[in-house]
């Protein structure tokens, strides 16, 4: 294989990050794998740009930013969207970056299954289909004999899935505990630093774009619970789904609780715990100065193993290029494997 044609589905923050990162790293990917990556289509929720000869990544981002939709892409703009784009062009790998949907996992689920049926590899940053139907999706990839990678679905740029599978491959994984949501970590960190109340910091976080206008997925622990399911399935072999996770968010945490914790040298963090007898997302006390003491939007995870004991990883849990870095790493590992 000397050329890999990719489709980027979903052109929000993550999709644009992938386009930008590809434009920056094309030569590096060529050096590392001998493969030339070409974007043959990119699609947002209502339109797309499609060209078998390849699209310009920077122009895709510019068009989306300035015109609001990809159909405005010069010459190759199209009204095709969703699954139709997968039929409109020859491709090798689907880079799926549509928004997470925790109700019915769409459109990610249909797009991913369709790509598998077409015999194509998929790299995703989406959590919905993995949290609701992990086994079904992974089995479908296996049956189709294609590669399916989802490092970006947990922890953004923080390496965890590939790291645990590849670098800790000699170890049995006993448990994983960590901070898997950057927004709540940011809110709790600022409440701790400033002694302010939850509502005040949440509002400021929304103004800064760190928290969404509807912050429910983050502050109620839903996002972290989805990641809990993905890690449970992929790294501990637990056949779990979203409803198996006990979830408690941070909206009940007030400045008094944080102050009391501080007096005893503790911090309050939203911790995801993944072990064979406990799948849980809840506010927990962590010792100041421990590996859980990371602030701002950082994510972290401590992986408890049989041979290596505890290994911890830290990284930026969200962000356009950061998440794209994990998707590109997945793409590179597919290309290396195929060659």
């Amino acid at each position: 294989m000397d050329e890999c044609k990719v489709i980027i589905m979903g052109f929000g923050s993550v999709g644009q990050g992938v386009a930008n990162a590809l434009s920056m790293k094309k030569d590096l990917i060529k050096d590392k794998t001998g493969v030339n990556v070409k974007v043959v289509a990119a699609a947002d929720s209502s339109s797309s740009a499609i060209s078998q000869d390849g699209l310009d990544e920077e122009l895709l981002v510019k068009t989306k930013k300035e015109e609001g939709k990809l159909s405005a892409y010069p010459e190759y703009g199209s009204d095709k969207n969703g699954a139709d784009v997968l039929d409109a062009v020859e491709y090798d790998c689907l880079i799926e970056a549509t928004p997470t949907n925790i109700v019915d996992a769409e459109p990610a689920l249909s797009l991913t299954l369709k790509a598998f049926k077409q015999g194509k590899d998929v790299v995703t940053s989406n959590k919905g289909h993995l949290a609701l139907k992990f086994k079904e999706v992974v089995d479908a990839a296996h049956e189709a004999g294609v590669e399916f990678k989802y490092e970006a679905s947990v922890g953004g740029s923080m390496p965890i899935i590939n790291f645990t599978r590849d670098t800790l491959s000699s170890c049995e994984i006993k448990s994983i505990k960590g901070i898997l949501n950057g927004t709540t970590n940011y809110i709790l960190s600022r409440m701790t630093a400033e002694g302010s109340d939850y509502e005040v910091i949440l509002k400021e976080s929304q103004e800064l774009g760190i928290a969404e206008t509807d912050p429910t997925q983050d502050v109620e622990g839903i996002d972290a619970a989805c990641k809990t399911v993905i890690l449970a399935n992929s790294l501990l072999g637990i056949d779990a789904t979203y409803s198996d996770v006990k979830v408690e968010g941070i909206s009940n945490i007030n400045s008094q609780a944080i102050e009391l914790a501080k007096k005893d040298d503790y911090l309050i963090k939203l911790i995801a715990e993944i072990s064979p007898d406990n799948l849980q997302v809840s506010p927990r006390l962590v010792k100041r100065g421990s590996s859980y003491d990371v602030s701002g939007t950082l994510n972290m995870a401590t992986i408890k193993t049989d041979l290596a004991d505890e290994v911890s990883v830290i990284g930026l849990g969200a962000g356009s290029l950061e998440t794209a870095s994990a998707m590109l790493t997945d793409l590179i590992s597919i290309l290396k494997y195929k060659n």
Binding site: E259, K263, S282, P283
Partner: protein
């Protein structure tokens, strides 16, 4: 072999004798005993330091007997055996019978609340930080008990990781 133990005794008459009695009966020898009654721990108990000599099995029997008699071993060969557990509760802690909450934790064998710090917020929900000291291996029992109380009284629990 020898072991060094530190036990905690209640500050009431007859405790030291009760500790020393089983030692020879179980085939172990007492090498040293240090007992300073005017030194007390945070919870008012008196530590006693023992050095015992004997066969490994006999020494283990002595330890088991101490456990049966309810003497908590807080240190063995210089290693502290007591566990400290910190937790935060949030909810209507006082209205939901605070005394009952504390009693139900203290009722667990080898478990004691050593500090309780509560922030009241008028009629609103209050927040409390509880420090618990427990014999080794009791952590899960304590977490289970707190979870049970919390569910019944609709309290949010923030446990240590």
């Amino acid at each position: 072999m020898r072991i060094d133990l530190v036990l905690e005794l209640l500050d009431i008459p007859g405790q030291l004798v009760k500790v020393l009695e089983p030692i020879s009966g179980l085939g172990a020898n007492l090498v040293t005993v240090i007992h300073k009654r005017d030194y007390k721990n945070d919870d008012g108990k008196v530590p006693v330091q023992l050095t015992l000599e004997g066969e490994r099995e006999d020494l283990l029997n002595v330890i088991t007997r101490f456990d049966d008699l309810g003497f908590s071993i807080i240190e063995m060969d210089g290693v502290v055996k007591k566990e400290k557990i910190t937790t935060i509760l949030f909810g209507h802690i006082v209205d939901q019978d605070l005394r009952d909450t504390m009693d139900r934790i203290n009722d667990l064998k080898g478990v004691q609340i050593v500090a309780f710090d509560i922030k009241l917020n008028g009629e609103e929900k209050s927040t409390a930080l509880i420090n618990i000291e427990a014999d080794v291996g009791k952590k899960q029992i304590i977490f289970d008990r707190i979870a049970e109380i919390a569910e019944e009284k609709e309290l949010l629990v923030i446990n240590e990781v």
